[in-house]
Subunit: 351 residues, 2 copies
Amino acid sequence: MLALAAHPLGIQVVSLDPGTLSPAAQVADAIVGAYDDEAALAVLAQVADVVTYEFENVPVDTARWLEARVPVLPPPAALEGAQDRLAEKRLFEEIELPVPAYVPVDDLDGLAGAIEDVGLPAVLKSRRLGYDGKGQAVVRSTELAEDAWRAVGAVPSLLETLVPFDRELSIVGARGRDGATAFYPLVHNEHAAGILRVSRAWEDGVTADLQRRAEDHATMLMERLGYVGVLAIELFQVGDQLLGNEFAPRVHNSGHWTIEGAETSQFEQHLRAVAGWPLGPVHPRGSAAMVNLIGTLPDAPDILRIPGAHLHTYGKQAREGRKLGHVTVVAGTPEACEAAVGEVLEALRGI
Amino acid sequence: MLALAAHPLGIQVVSLDPGTLSPAAQVADAIVGAYDDEAALAVLAQVADVVTYEFENVPVDTARWLEARVPVLPPPAALEGAQDRLAEKRLFEEIELPVPAYVPVDDLDGLAGAIEDVGLPAVLKSRRLGYDGKGQAVVRSTELAEDAWRAVGAVPSLLETLVPFDRELSIVGARGRDGATAFYPLVHNEHAAGILRVSRAWEDGVTADLQRRAEDHATMLMERLGYVGVLAIELFQVGDQLLGNEFAPRVHNSGHWTIEGAETSQFEQHLRAVAGWPLGPVHPRGSAAMVNLIGTLPDAPDILRIPGAHLHTYGKQAREGRKLGHVTVVAGTPEACEAAVGEVLEALRGI
């Protein structure tokens, strides 16, 4: 989606990906190479005016190697913070964004102590490489602690209190090279089986105060990191309180609705930011939502016949639990948008 | 732009173009081959489920050769009608769309007779290969008739009365495989030096009756041709009357505003039609306009800082008089849109 947004802006994209079947390679020039393949990285550094990433598990060493040769934005420090849940929590604490109570866990003994400190129920989360619910296990009793430890891979983790949150929100915004910022409205995210299923981008109990506080947290995080580009923070809303869950130093799934739903998409916005160009207006076009297409793609006409529905497939090979595309829904009112979301979910049932 | 629209829909594009620097080849697989290279055409016929075109001077023989092997939409008959101004005029006459008075001209003697029949001033237009004002010459006096004949290349032509039209409008719409049609609002086109410069897509003296009549003409033309895909008719408005100027059997420059300005872009609409999928909604998002970028591209930030302006570059090599891109402007009101169009034109001055 970044490459598709780049072309009309006159930005030439060269992707580096370890695989030969990457989505970007279908619409842009591509280098196939491992993230630690210095010959491949050298080619990228030579042809690029600026390097960015849209996958937060690019090794920090790779980003730093490139940074010595070509501007890398967002800065590698942001990657570093996002890759380790402990570093991430400490960043949130530094900017005074409250987080759920947590304790680092390095081994099974540590887990027993952590359960005493944090209490149950709690969630054990591996510090690294977690996504879409992977690397997480809920701990409801001390008897099942060892199962949880094995479920996350018996690796350094955090035990976090299971927050009885009202809902998950995310704030997606951008910071330009000049320090200017622009934020989309808070988005309400609904998960199924640990994977984001629906994001709704209309004001649904989101007060101006809540929006402002979310933006302030994101601004402080971006300033702390010297950030340039689009960033997302996933937040838990508990009553009127916002807790930091995690952040993504990249365009974010909960911002995919912006392609048709906002005046400037998060993809164009990210490109504007890293190119040092002015950020674009972020106001929504009506009420918008996004439904992820997971595991199997529907037949295109089944989606395209729904008014306001826009299909986005990613050119990925199908696999269970894999995000293969999404549908953006844009309508004049939240009610009409919700009705269309219902039609999309209905069309996806049983495919 | 068709290829960029195809990817999210899960449609894989393979382009065939005689040149190695085609815009489509930058974002899709490509076959480089002349239009009469049967080996190249055979590859295309083999890999494609359906073949379409976005250039009306693809030889009809090429389209017919392919049609014997794979569905070609729009049908080659539409190409044939659009490539010859005489055939085009007769199609318009068949569907009872009035046209300016004209006489076919095959040689210099014929031109003298045509001037007597049509009167002066008149326009001499070559029957084939005219675009962007090329292949046309205004004849204001019999003394200069020979100059005009040479200016159009001394080839079979039409002499057409110079219509004192109020303005040029175009109707852009689509017809699906099931015969369903959908039309964008009439667009008002302004030219500079024979090349389309600005299209405005808001109601500016366009009555519901004018819109309906334009749609009826286009529907009749599409039915007459068994048409599938997006088609545009350029019309002269003279008072309350509509005269047919020419038609394009393809996505059209005066429809480029639909990428951001309408619920479904003409590019997605064309793909939906030729794929046999349902057509999408065509309602505009606010007031929209389009400014062509001709000969030279501006610096991106000079356009991107204008609220509501969306940049589209085509990846073409710069050349005087060549359309290298366009800017779509979308705003809440015609007045705001006009102001933004003014800013875009100002930014383009002197580049």
